[in-house]
Assembly symmetry: C2
């Protein structure tokens, strides 16, 4: 792996562990055993690193969250989405811990973020409409946007919410599964009679994962 890529991945790791604010460029360099000067050879500044991480984040969503087509099995797709959301929430925790701060320091990133989230909202709405078409949920047109916002907010801020509840701000994979359960709770409220059993099955699956022993990770 190139030094540049190593810097990106070390940054993600340290940011997630200790928070973006607490990790300086010097920390990143020291943890990798390279000099600060070397880090600045590869990146213009700290924001530049974060911008590269955001690109990975966008790419992840873009790759794993393609809208489903009428031919797809809606429920199967839903399960796939949940697993992708798990990965997203886990890998890019730090981003939402300090979202306001990070965006306020980088006008360009903020613009990209806003644009991306607007497109994402439309995508989530499409998914909801597809789930309705697939007879998985019932929902009035007027409520689609509201539910989409709630889903986005939940995925974004579940990890900061959990971190704020414990002294050591560390997260376990189980915590993320609890977040996935919240997504399912939001959907459950709109389930059709015949999909309820299936969605409850998904809930049971993630509940088991959420309550698994930490050592069983």
């Amino acid at each position: 792996m190139s030094t540049k890529d190593k810097i990106i991945h070390t940054s993600i790791e340290l940011f997630n562990l200790h928070g973006e604010r607490a990790i300086t460029t010097n920390h990143i360099a020291a943890h990798m055993g390279i000099s600060p000067g070397n880090l600045y050879y590869h990146f213009k500044n700290k924001e530049d690193i974060i911008r590269h991480i955001f690109a990975l984040y966008s790419e992840h969503l873009h790759t794993h969250f393609k809208p489903l087509t009428p031919d797809d099995d809606a429920l199967e797709n839903l399960a796939g989405y949940l697993d992708s959301l798990f990965e997203l929430m886990w890998r890019y925790q730090f981003f939402y811990d300090n979202l306001g701060d990070i965006l306020s320091r980088d006008e360009a990133l903020k613009k990209d973020y806003i644009e991306f989230q607007a497109a994402l909202l439309e995508q989530v709405k499409e998914v909801l409409l597809a789930l309705r078409a697939g007879d998985i949920i019932t929902i009035e047109d007027a409520d689609v946007t509201e539910l989409a916002h709630m889903l986005k907010m939940t995925v974004s801020f579940w990890t900061p919410y959990i971190k704020a509840r414990r002294l050591s701000g560390e997260l376990a994979r189980q915590d993320i599964y609890h977040g996935i359960l919240k997504v399912l709770l939001l959907l459950k409220a709109h389930c059709t009679e015949h999909s309820l059993a299936q969605v409850n099955q998904l809930r049971a699956k993630y509940l088991a994962l959420a309550n698994a022993e930490p050592t069983a990770q």
Copy 2:
């Protein structure tokens, strides 16, 4: 108003407008037309100021969010809670914009926060059970905790969610009303047949406020 109180209220105002991270003790002093030294006569440090603000926040919740009793009109109480939540979300925006950061810098505050939130969770659960007893909602015991968490998370992170969606991170009172609507969306999913009309009435009320002209504040 004493200088000490003025410092607290100026801090809240500036923190809400520009973010806690961006506002230094020097900014606060300059905005008030006092010297930095004077500010430090009244407060040990920046965290000390924030701790005092947190006390106001706790007090607000403590005063306006008393659990309802079986004698109360559950729906009337619910409407009261929503108005109090509005005030809370509006006044202490900055706190949730940077929650992780703020808590990580002050171990004592973090402990207080965690303890307070744990108690608050129990209180929200009580309220939900009272709403069930008042025949406003139906909910299985197993789902009460999950719903309570969702309500808390929504109230906490709605404002950061909205701020991240616009270039100027400023919030309008309408944005908060949209947040209240999200709380009602969560409750609506559990409404009984006879309460649905009343809850929809509340939704209509806040929808009207949310869509009102900014100048009509």
